[in-house]
């Protein structure tokens, strides 16, 4: 397969279950390593880098299944997402509560997430929707310019979904966004371009209008999905 995402665009990846969407994310973010092929980020080969090395290059991802730090507070969850990007690394010489810029950035993100009231609550006791919002918060906290979101609205009600879409719009402004999503309303409302993945193959890439009009896509995936809805 061959997939190219342009800088600054919002790119959605859709496809039936088991098409390999999450696997694609796991390969790009180096959770898995590819046996063949090549992955580039901003023109640089990142195929053999470790997840944390890729993250440091400005690519940050969220997870389909909520993946947070359950015993840390919401504030600490987000702050952990900030620390490396501000250059604090593995420091044992600095007091974490004295790091103004890290705290300010974390609070700014928490504000955007609408989790201000939950700032000092352990993340593990948040509601599902709150944890999903936090998941996005940790992902964008570092200010990475390439964001991968894996089904950010999975398992959410209509109103919760609308809130998350608004949130994604806000926090990915001016960044490159790649998103796996099942909710066609979200995909067609948010994406500049869409790629359709079926059995590990990209069968089409194009604007929402092009994808909607594409007969192969309709046959392979969209038609069925629309019929369901």
């Amino acid at each position: 397969m061959n997939l190219e995402v342009r800088a600054g665009e919002r790119h959605a990846i859709i496809g039936p279950n088991g098409a390999g969407k999450s696997t694609l994310f796991n390969l790009v973010s180096a959770l898995f390593h590819p046996t063949r092929g090549r992955i580039e980020l901003k023109g640089e080969d990142i195929t053999h880098l470790k997840p944390y090395e890729i993250n440091r290059k400005g690519l940050s991802r969220s997870f389909q299944l909520t993946n947070i730090f359950p015993r840390l507070t919401v504030f600490d969850n987000v702050r952990c997402g900030v620390l490396w990007s501000l250059g604090y690394r593995y420091s044992i010489w600095r007091r974490i509560s004295a790091l103004r810029n890290a705290a300010d950035r974390a609070d700014e993100v928490i504000d955007q997430l609408g989790l201000k009231r939950r700032r000092n609550t352990p993340a593990g006791v948040l509601s599902y929707a709150e944890q999903r919002a936090l998941e996005i918060g940790i992902t964008i906290a570092s200010g990475a310019d390439v964001i991968l979101l894996d089904e950010p609205t999975a398992g959410m009600s209509r109103s919760e979904t609308d809130e998350v879409v608004a949130l994604i719009r806000r926090v990915t402004h001016g960044k490159t966004l790649v998103m796996v999503e099942h909710d066609m309303g979200v995909v067609f409302g948010l994406a500049d371009r869409i790629s359709v993945l079926v059995y590990g193959q990209i069968i089409a890439t194009g604007s929402p209008a092009e994808i909607r009009a594409n007969p192969t896509v309709q046959e392979a995936y969209l038609g069925k999905s629309f019929a369901h809805a």
Partner: protein, 451 residues
């Protein structure tokens, strides 16, 4: 956000009180026995806190922490014995232990921190056994069965401080102990310290915020090795002898016991554990041979019923106390005390009678709770079993009453917090507690929430 000041009134009060306690300790407990007990508690405090850097802070369950403590102790005693050639002031000798622990942490940490969880635990067990086996293979360094002894009085000393008197030794331990406790606390409040918590909670996710979890674990292990080595160094100077037992599995087990009983979820937990276990060890072992068995029972009971350790009990009650609701709990607690005591007496009676039968051939009577009885007689056994069964049943009832009262108090706390509009603490109290006290979460609940 306003940066919280480094020195707050609360911090000043807590650390000031701690320091005052350390200074005043030997003035109150000035008998030889009490003083050496204090020394032992001080050493164990540093050791247990260093262990908790791994277990509580980083989520690493090590079965071989005695390696760093023991080799720190051996290094220190050798440095002491080389005093003529290498005159390091005795005051600074614990640092030799620290550096030895740190160096070992670099070597063993490189091997063991590649993986967390069970893999780490097994490797730590293997390293512990390996070093313990080595101690018998290299008698030149480890001194064989007799161990290595030294003499901490190396000369006239500065200002007459020779460390000859036990009290001077105590203040050396107190000084290094205070610095270590402070340093380890400070460490837990650094970027590395916080990321250690993150790695404990969810190593996978920590990779995706730019951190290498392996590096975080490695650094924490190295630093933990340093403080364990300092504790070992203090032990070497205090006892003036180091034997192979210091780096045995027994010592590794003892430090787990201290950390877990004290509570790994709070910074101060292991301090309580170190003090309690040390006192119990000496007190119980002086009255009965069966002390190890009691320790086992105690440990199992703690892990089963109070997995967060004593510190978690304190945290829970502190919240209730500050809300002025503790009075509601006290009556049920008093009610439970009686059957708890009877049950303990029943267990103790059975254990002691069993030991008496095995040990004292020829004797037909023993003294138990001030009563002469025949350990082979049916009466005493029947009495003990009856006491145990009846009190266990009563204790169940009492526990139910306590549970009901707690539910009461929790509901009250929740409604109060809600009416205050402070959402931060409004999460179910029990949920928070479980999250804080759990040791082996490894982020598993975050994954299960969306399953």
């Amino acid at each position: 956000m306003i940066t919280p000041p480094l020195v707050t009134r609360r911090r000043l009060a807590v650390w000031g009180a701690f320091l005052a306690m350390l200074i005043a300790g030997p003035l109150i407990f000035n008998k030889g026995f009490a003083l050496s007990l204090l020394c032992q508690i001080g050493i164990m405090t540093v050791f247990a806190l260093s262990y908790n850097m791994l277990l509580g802070h980083t989520g690493l369950l090590s079965f071989g922490h005695a390696v760093y403590y023991g080799l720190g102790a051996f290094s220190t005693v050798h440095a002491l014995n080389m005093h003529a050639a290498l005159p390091i002031p005795v005051t600074l000798l614990p640092l030799v232990g620290g550096v030895a622990g740190l160096a070992l942490g670099v070597i063993f940490g490189y091997v063991s921190t590649k993986k967390a969880g069970t893999t780490f635990s097994m490797i730590s067990l293997g390293i512990g056994e390996m070093v313990a086996a080595m101690s018998l293979m290299f008698p030149a360094f480890f001194g064989g069965e007799g161990g290595i002894s030294g003499n901490r009085v190396t000369g006239a000393g500065l200002f007459g401080i020779t460390y000859g008197p036990q009290r001077q030794m105590y203040y050396l331990i107190a000084g290094w102990g205070f610095l270590s406790v402070l340093a380890m606390y400070a460490l837990s409040e650094t970027p590395l310290g916080r990321m250690a918590n993150a790695v404990r909670d969810n190593p996978e996710r920590s990779q995706f915020v730019g951190y290498n979890p392996q590096r975080v674990r490695f650094l924490m292990l190295v630093l933990s090795g340093f403080f364990a080595g300092v504790a070992g160094g203090l032990a070497a100077l205090n006892y003036e002898i180091v034997t192979a037992e210091t780096l045995s599995a027994h010592t590794s087990g003892a430090v787990i016991l201290m950390a877990v009983v004290g509570g790994v979820g709070q910074y101060y937990g292991p301090i309580i554990g170190a003090a309690l276990i040390t006192v119990l060890q000496i007190a119980v072992s002086s009255v009965t041979q069966a002390w190890m068995l009691y320790f086992g029972l105690f440990f199992v009971g703690m892990v089963l019923y109070v997995p967060g350790g004593i510190a978690s009990i304190i945290v829970r009650h502190e919240r209730v106390w500050s809300a002025g609701l503790l009075r509601r709990l006290v009556p049920t607690y008093l009610l439970a005390t009686v059957p708890a005591l009877v049950m303990t007496a029943g267990v103790v009676a059975m254990v002691e009678m069993a030991y008496a039968i095995v040990d004292s051939i020829g004797y037909t009577t023993m003294r138990l709770f001030g009563v002469l009885l025949n350990p082979k007689g049916l009466g005493p056994w029947a009495g003990a079993v009856l006491a145990l069964v009846v009190s266990a049943l009563l204790l169940r009832l009492a526990a139910r009453a306590i549970g009901a009262r707690w539910q009461d108090v929790n509901t009250e706390l929740l409604t109060r917090e809600k009416s205050h509009g402070d959402d931060a603490g409004a999460a179910p109290v029990r949920g928070v507690e479980e999250l804080r006290t759990g040791v082996d979460h490894q982020g598993s609940e975050s994954r299960s929430t969306s399953g």
